[in-house]
Symmetry: C2
Subunit: 200 residues, 2 copies
Amino acid sequence: MSTPDSPSLPNSQDPLQALTEQEREELVSLQRLERRRKGEHLFRSGQPLSQYFTVVEGCVRTYHLHDGEEFTLDFYTEGQTVLPAVASKGIVAPSFAVCMEDCLLNVTDEQLEQEVFARLPRLKEICRQQGEQLQLTHQQELALHKSATPEQRYAHLLATRPSLLQRVPQYQIASYLGIKPESLSRLRKRLQKNSSGTST
Amino acid sequence: MSTPDSPSLPNSQDPLQALTEQEREELVSLQRLERRRKGEHLFRSGQPLSQYFTVVEGCVRTYHLHDGEEFTLDFYTEGQTVLPAVASKGIVAPSFAVCMEDCLLNVTDEQLEQEVFARLPRLKEICRQQGEQLQLTHQQELALHKSATPEQRYAHLLATRPSLLQRVPQYQIASYLGIKPESLSRLRKRLQKNSSGTST
DNA sequence: TTGAGATCTTAACCAACGTCAATGAGTCGC
DNA sequence: GCGACTCATTGACGTTGGTTAAGATCTCAA
């Protein structure tokens, strides 16, 4: 009933379980939390990336710009990392990231990252591994997007991240699914009609 | 006229330029080359990955299986790496990879990887950075796929990897574009008609 | 030559998305 | 309340992809 939404990319399954209680506490003590207002950008496409963000509270959306139109890549909510840490210098932001709500973010820059890894050497390997698996997951996402119809993609979103639909305007969900808002509207209507017959 | 096809994922831009001539020679001397026959699989979805491949000669296709149907993820030709090196233990193959032609491959396993990194310490960082940028590139691919029509995707493929279309059966290209072979056939016809008018 | 198999093309029909335009519903500031 | 604005919905229409089925090539082997 109240599962807090598993992320579509398993960004998830807390790999920090591998740390000891003490290590985790230390990690928390090193965290730097910052507030960002609704509408603020975390980064913009093409800019060198110097910070990495994890959402503690709120919602962040990443998107591409293409012929003046926004294409939503993903939504990040409580507990999700907008970009994996362990990024090297010289990495360039591949997209835009904007706060959908007022946000509380865990912000890591290069210096802090060095510090954290110095204190928790095991974390580096954990992050690296996580990043690699994430990459493979991205490939799978692409495959899913290719092989599924918009309807299936919507059903999948509904099944895996139901609360997102309450939280985010539908025209952005549509863009996330790769269709127009009007089409999402019709699609939802179709599903309603079919499911109402099913539940008898 | 005869550019050898830039890969869709810039897998490309030889990051080994950062090595000295001597280092590169050493790298080559450490390479292990293997032949694989057309139709052989390099890995299968779900299996632990113990080897990484770069195509020296031939063509490799990766794909997903979904309800018994294949969905082509990508094609890898001369010079392209099927999966990035610097993968940790315990990584699981996210897809299938099969040789489209008889292939000559540069094969790296964990042991060889250790050896190479021991001999060329700088390479490790280079590979890591490459892997991270690749990850961001995958995100961009997904965005491109979402925001472009099949026609635009085909045009993009035609522009960036023309020789692939000569090399690979069209029904697999169709699957790569996310459409059915019949649709690709119609699409090509439409494009022909339109471009014939243009070239006057 | 004949037949089987694989690949590509074409046609006809339907379903679904895109576009354009109009209408509601909700919020906000005045 | 009122207008302005944003967002969701609906309808009409055209375009395009999926499906099914048929046919055209081509290769390969008997």
